[in-house]
Symmetry: C2
Subunit: 281 residues, 2 copies
């Protein structure tokens, strides 16, 4: 995914949940998580006691330009302090904690978050240390547990990846799944009259080219050919292109035959292989 | 998300779509993408002309143990060659290409992929170069375009993050959204008789403690208190815990009063603030 999709004239989405990273160890991971936050419209970051201190030049590098998130990030000594002003907390963990809390996937957390924010609450999504995750005491401060469906044989997810997936579900919901672009406006599907005229054209030319060797099989072959083109959902433009292709193939055949005849007269072999089937050959 | 969720006795999921990385530039990104593939049950990797050559030690480091993916990765000179044996291709791109192809999000691609694999087809998910993405000629080899809902003001997604999100949607679907663990089996919600006995207990103790200062407001206050506990969905164990808490508070009050009296007799002030409200104080 290249950077070319970025439109710097567009405004960043406002609001959304707070992301809290508890004692992140490496600036690279903080930066990568921040970049993913920015991609998915999350801009509110709180850091609990980052091991390498703050600010962190490596975090800046890996954030790849999501500076506004870094600049407004707040640092707290512990999770309890970082939860100031928060009404609802989801704690991300890859391990069962044996706690009587609801366990939700990222999609369900996104839905819960959107509903609570719409109701005027503020929500935090809490992620733990790279190696050891959140302490059980920290998880006990959460309303729900957030976890992801992962391969049980290889469950260790990079911190920034976890933030990315949770952010993705958030933005998918917050943007109603709107993709950054769509299939270009299509010309409408062609009138059947145009399609049938194309069938007439191609079937006539195939007849002249002696394509239908067996008269008994001809109706089935024609049905099969028509089905191929029916499946495509051709527009008028598509049909014009196909008419042109058939005409070029027919006329090219004449040209090729004439050239082959000239070559044979000069003692040369005709070209073999893919090249010889190109209509412009 | 810590590594503690990994269970090395579990088998890796088999099958799934092929991931093709076209001319990836950095071993770090290949390795991070491979780790994300492993997390989300994707194990089939094809590389088109990786810039730093192959194998790549940095890719091994960043794959964090997903060696089986690296060991079985295949390298091809171009995308056309890498599509050998593939029936259906989704090309990831962040930019509109003006092509008449369906544009799908990762969830729709996952559904399409699962359906085609179930029908015996093989599917490839193709990701382009870190900076420049896929060339238009490469996108033209795909059946559908895959893109993600992203913040238009900050749309540049890291390659491995894109693989992670697409892999996440794949595994969410392939595993029916099964999370690695669930809320522990709860004791069933308590009989109403047990709940009402608790209400009797707490209301009797509050009466004795002169909590209900205004007889007119007492019925409303009691209703509010009952509503708090009704909302929780208490189990028998929860109710036993609450009975114990009320009893301890009542008995602790006696202890505290006795101690306060002793302190006052010795000329000391009682402890103020949160400490004095702890039942074990």
């Amino acid at each position: 995914m290249s950077g070319a999709g970025t439109d710097s004239t567009k405004a960043w989405p406002e609001g959304g949940p707070v992301v809290i990273l508890v004692e992140p160890q490496l600036g690279e991971n903080i930066g990568s998580a921040v970049r993913a936050m920015g991609n998915f419209g999350l801009s509110r970051l709180r850091l609990v006691n980052p091991r390498e201190g703050w600010p962190n030049p490596k975090a800046v590098t890996f954030a790849s330009g999501a500076d506004r998130i870094l600049e407004t990030a707040e640092v707290f000594p512990d999770l309890r302090a970082a939860l100031a002003g928060i009404n609802f907390v989801a704690a991300a963990t890859a391990r069962e904690r044996g706690m009587q809390k609801s366990v939700l996937g990222a999609d369900a957390v996104a839905a819960e978050t959107a509903g609570r924010i719409a109701g005027g609450e503020d929500v935090a999504l809490v992620f733990g240390r790279e190696r050891t995750g959140l302490y059980t005491e920290e998880v006990s401060l959460a309303d729900v547990i957030l976890t992801l469906p992962v391969n049980p044989a290889f469950a260790s997810l990079n911190l920034a990846m976890a933030v990315a997936v949770v952010g993705y579900e958030w933005f998918k919901l917050a943007s109603n799944g709107a993709l950054p672009f769509q299939q270009p406006d299509r010309y409408p599907i062609a009138d059947k009259a145009d399609l049938l005229a194309f069938f007439d054209h191609v079937e006539r030319e195939l007849d002249e080219a002696l394509f239908f060797r067996s008269p008994e099989k001809k109706p089935v072959t024609i049905r099969n050919i028509r089905n191929i083109f029916h499946r495509v959902g051709l527009t008028r433009q598509d049909i014009a292109t196909l008419h042109g292709m058939v005409t070029a193939l027919v006329e090219g055949r004449g040209t090729r035959e004439a050239r082959t005849a000239a070559r044979l007269a000069g003692g040369k072999k005709p070209l073999a292989g893919p090249e010889s089937s190109e209509p412009t050959d």
